[in-house]
C-alpha cells in the first residue's frame, strides 16, 4: 500500500473515530417504548425517591419545524435542496397514498413561465400580463374580464429604504376590492399603519405576501420598495429630537 492511500484510509478512520466518540459522549438515556425513562442507579442518593417524571402527555405535540438544534447556524433558514419536486417526493404528501402519484407535478406546469428567485419561482404578474396562463375571473365563465383599477399608492418610508408603491392594477387583476377593503385596509391613502414587523408576522400586506403571493425575502424587497428616495432625502428627525432645546 502506498503512502498516499495509507494517509487517506487513516484520515477516514480518524474522521469516523472522532464522530463516533462525539456521539458516544452524549448521555446514554434511551427512552422506553412507552416514552418513559428507565430508572437510574440512585445508590449514591439513598434519600431521593425516583418518580417517573415523563408523564404520558394526553396532547400529541406536533413540531412544524425542528427546533432542537438551537445553536446551529441559521437554523431557521433551511435551504431547500430541490425545487418543484413531484407530489410524491415533496415530503408533504404521503407517497403511500395511491392518488398522490396522479397529482399534477409543478415542474412541467411552470415550464416557460417567467422565473423569479422566490416563492413558486414564477413571476405571476408577468405570467398573467403576457397571457401565459388564463385564469378565470368567474367560476363558470371563461371570458369574464376582471375589474381592473390602475391606481398606485405611494407610501413614503421613514427609513432609508426606497419608498413603497402599492399598485392597484396588479392586485385587481387577481383580486376583488372586497378582498382588501375594508377588512385588511381602510380605502384611504395613508389611513393604515403598516410596518415590516406586521407584514412578516402575516398581517396587512403579509396576509397574502409570505403565504401565497410572493414572499418577503432579501431578494423581493425591491418589488414593494420600488420608488428610490430623492437625492436630497434626509432621514426625518424624531419628535423628541425636534423638541430637544439643546439641539
Amino acid at each position: 500500500m502506498n503512502w498516499h492511500k495509507k494517509t487517506l484510509y487513516m484520515s477516514c478512520a480518524l474522521a469516523l473515530f472522532l464522530a463516533g466518540s462525539a456521539c458516544s459522549a452524549q448521555p446514554q438515556v434511551t427512552a422506553r417504548p412507552d416514552g418513559s425513562i428507565p430508572v437510574m442507579d440512585l445508590s449514591y442518593a439513598p434519600d431521593y425517591k425516583a418518580v417517573d417524571e415523563m408523564a404520558q402527555s394526553d396532547v400529541q405535540v406536533i413540531h412544524i419545524a425542528q427546533v432542537d438544534d438551537i445553536n446551529s447556524f441559521n437554523r431557521n433558514l433551511k435551504k431547500p435542496k430541490g425545487v418543484h419536486l413531484p407530489p410524491a417526493e415533496d415530503g408533504l404528501r404521503d407517497p403511500q397514498n395511491e392518488a398522490t402519484h396522479i397529482l399534477a407535478a409543478p415542474k412541467p406546469a411552470f415550464e416557460g413561465l417567467p422565473p423569479t428567485e422566490f416563492g413558486n419561482r414564477v413571476d405571476w404578474v408577468k405570467t398573467l400580463d403576457d397571457k401565459k396562463v388564463r385564469p378565470r375571473w368567474e367560476k363558470e365563465d371563461p371570458d369574464a374580464e376582471p375589474f381592473v383599477m390602475d391606481l398606485d399608492i405611494v407610501r413614503p418610508v421613514k427609513a432609508s429604504v426606497p419608498d413603497v408603491v402599492f399598485p392597484h392594477r396588479q392586485h385587481t387583476e387577481w383580486l376583488f376590492c372586497s378582498n382588501c377593503h375594508p377588512a385588511i385596509f381602510i380605502p384611504q391613502k395613508g389611513a393604515n399603519q403598516i410596518n415590516m414587523s406586521a407584514i412578516l408576522l402575516g398581517q396587512k400586506c403579509g396576509v397574502c405576501h409570505g403565504k401565497v403571493a410572493f414572499p418577503i425575502t432579501t431578494k423581493s424587497c425591491r418589488k414593494c420598495h420600488s420608488k428610490p428616495k430623492a437625492d436630497d432625502w434626509k432621514p426625518p428627525l424624531s419628535e423628541v429630537t425636534l423638541k430637544n432645546p439643546w439641539k
Binding site: F17, G20, H84, L175
Partner: protein
C-alpha cells in the same frame, strides 16, 4: 492499520462514527413542497383520514384569487374555513367546483386526502413559519388525541 488502542472502544467509536455519517447523509429532509401549499387538518386526522392538501399554484393557473376568496367565501387563513365533507357535498367551499361539472367530484378521496398523516394545519413555506419558532403544543388541544393510547 487501525490505531492500536483498546480494541473494543476503537471499534465502537468506528461503528458509531459510520452510523453518524450515514445518518447525516440519509437524514429526512424537511418537506419541500411548493410555496403556498396548504395542509388542512382540522378534522381529518381525528376521523382517520389523511389531512387534505390544497395547492395554490395549481388553482391560480386556472382561477384568479377572487373566485375563491371573494365569490366562494374562503378566508385568507389556513384552516380558518371549518370545511367539512357535508359542506363540500352541499356545494360549498371545494364543492362549488369539485362537483363533477367544473372539476372532478368527491369520490376521488385520495386526490385531496393526500397529506402525510399527523401533519398539522399550515401553509407550506410561509414567511412567518420560517421566522418564528413554532409553538411546542397546538394552540387548541384536539378533542381526541390522535396518538394511540399506551397499552398497559
Amino acid at each position: 492499520m487501525l490505531p492500536k488502542m483498546k480494541g473494543r472502544i476503537t471499534w465502537r467509536a468506528l461503528a458509531l462514527g459510520a452510523a453518524a455519517w450515514a445518518a447525516m447523509l440519509i437524514a429526512p429532509v424537511p418537506a419541500q413542497a411548493e410555496y403556498g401549499d396548504v395542509v388542512i387538518n382540522n378534522y381529518a386526522d381525528a376521523a382517520g383520514m389523511r389531512p387534505a392538501v390544497f395547492s395554490h399554484w395549481f388553482h391560480r393557473v386556472r382561477f384568479r384569487c377572487k373566485v375563491c376568496h371573494a365569490d366562494l367565501g374562503f378566508q385568507f387563513k389556513a384552516g380558518g374555513n371549518k370545511i367539512t365533507m357535508a359542506k363540500i357535498i352541499d356545494g360549498k367551499f371545494c364543492g362549488a367546483c369539485h362537483n363533477g361539472e367544473i372539476a372532478w367530484s368527491v369520490e376521488n378521496c385520495g386526490m385531496c386526502h393526500s397529506g402525510v398523516p399527523g401533519t398539522p394545519t399550515h401553509i407550506h413555506g410561509s414567511t412567518a413559519q420560517t421566522l418564528v419558532a413554532p409553538p411546542h403544543q397546538p394552540l387548541l388541544a384536539p378533542a381526541a388525541a390522535p396518538a394511540p393510547a399506551p397499552k398497559k
